[in-house]
């Protein structure tokens, strides 16, 4: 019981994840700034921002639903932290696993997007409503390619459990190279999930102020920010576990170090993407996801099927 609590709250749960999340945000912001020939924030800035938000008073609009308005940010944070417990980070085994946990992780990772929708919808502000609708519209666009892309390596490993999957790829150390196209697709879908440029129209500042978060302030905005930070790390960890499962049979601390390098690599790619592109309109985003991203993901799936049947 005590060890479970320790796992959930300290390591590898909330505390550790928050540390990783704020560090990831710092790296993202610093790198973004350096790409743009700026100095960038100091290392403690993300934590300072969170502390500031938690210290501030919050305003809830009169027309908003007070219960939903307060609850959804916490749900977002809880869902992302829970998903992390099923992702292996220092070996081939995650802390908790069962058959089909991959589907649960993906499900848990869609929850934050739904909380953005609910939070925006129940704020009753026009900007928030438009942002909320865009969030959900975008969800339908990137979720299918993401699922298809993750499905391909799972199919190759013939299992729905992430831990068993990593084990399979440890036994067959070079097979992950078959899934590189899927990795690209999942990376782009992750940009959509994290609502970053070029897919940040749900919170496009110059159009709808802050989208779903327009009415949020103080503590509740802090929860959301926290959840988004954590979501970035969890998303990157999922991609690292599914698409980059190499070197997992080494000495566990070394595997852990390798894991950190992997998510750093993924996060840097995400930052680079948002540095060099303009924001797409929501219709263009959906067009892109359905016309290009989903077929490419499908191609990966069929490719894996053929390899599995004919070669392996």
């Amino acid at each position: 019981m005590l060890s479970a609590l320790f796992n959930i709250l300290i390591f590898p749960g909330l505390f550790f994840l928050s540390f990783l999340g704020t560090t990831a945000e710092y790296i993202d912001r610093k790198l973004y700034a350096r790409f743009q020939n700026r100095v960038g924030p100091p290392w403690f800035q993300p934590v300072a921002d969170l502390i500031k938000l938690f210290a501030k008073s919050e305003v809830i609009p009169e027309e908003a639903d007070p219960v939903m308005f307060r609850v959804v940010p916490l749900v977002a944070l809880a869902a992302t932290v829970t998903a992390f417990l099923y992702i292996p980070i220092w070996g081939t085994e995650a802390l908790y696993y069962f058959k089909g946990d991959l589907i649960v992780i993906i499900y848990l990772l869609t929850l934050p997007t739904f909380t953005f929708f609910l939070g925006g919808w129940y704020s009753r502000s026009l900007y928030a409503t438009i942002g909320a609708i865009r969030s959900v519209t975008q969800l339908f666009a990137y979720e299918i390619p993401l699922l298809l892309a993750v499905l391909a390596p799972a199919l190759l490993a013939n299992t729905w459990s992430l831990s068993e999957m990593t084990e399979y790829y440890t036994v067959h150390p070079w097979y992950w190279l078959f899934n590189l196209v899927g990795f690209g697709v999942a990376l782009i879908a992750l940009l959509g999930k994290l609502e970053r440029v070029p897919f940040d129209s749900p919170e496009a500042e110059t159009e709808i102020v802050a989208g779903s978060f327009t009415e949020y302030s103080g503590r509740f905005l802090g929860w959301f920010r926290w959840a988004i930070d954590v979501e970035a790390v969890v998303g990157a960890s999922l991609l690292a576990a599914v698409f980059l499962p190499f070197g997992l049979s080494l000495w566990p601390p070394l595997v852990f170090g390798l894991y950190l390098l992997k998510i750093l690599f993924i996060l840097c790619l995400l930052t680079l993407a948002r540095t060099v592109m303009a924001r797409l309109r929501i219709d263009q985003m959906i067009d892109f996801c359905w016309r290009i991203l989903a077929p490419v993901a499908f191609f990966q799936l069929i490719f894996d099927l053929i390899i599995k049947e004919l070669i392996l």
């Binding site: 790198l31 790409f35 960038g40 680079l272």
Partner: protein, 133 residues
């Protein structure tokens, strides 16, 4: 055009990766001083000994920021409201005897409006409180 173009996403990648290793373009102001060019139009300077009291500067000032007071025979002091001054330098152009000059001093912010009133008295040195700036 001679150069060939091909449309692609992320056309800027090469440049941003190069920029990563460049020195930031931003200046760490105010921790490091930011000098202004020599002829920058900043705070006014007044030389009472040259003033003949023609009041042309007062007349031409677009914002009525200047007030020249007569203290005695051929003795004048200037009272300037830096909150009103728009630093156009017209008074310097208007002055027949070059009793006015501009300095590149631009760091004139104050917490209180009273401190923006600067009096250049006949003794030659302004007794204004903004000298710390």
């Amino acid at each position: 055009m001679a150069k060939k173009f091909f449309i692609r996403p992320g056309a800027m990648i090469a440049l941003v990766l190069k920029t990563l290793f460049q020195k930031p373009a931003t200046v760490d102001y105010p921790n490091k001083p930011l000098p202004m060019p020599e002829h920058f139009r900043g705070k006014l300077d007044f030389m009472p000994e040259k003033c003949i009291g023609c009041l042309l500067c007062m007349k031409d000032c677009p914002t009525d920021a200047i007030e020249i007071k007569k203290l005695g025979d051929k003795k004048f002091e200037m009272d300037i409201d830096l909150g009103k001054c728009i630093y156009c330098g017209q008074c310097v152009d208007s002055c027949l005897k070059k009793a006015l000059a501009i300095t590149p001093n631009f760091e004139l912010a104050q917490f209180s409006h009273d401190k923006l009133r600067v009096v250049f008295n006949a003794a030659g040195s302004p007794d204004g409180t903004d000298q710390k700036a």
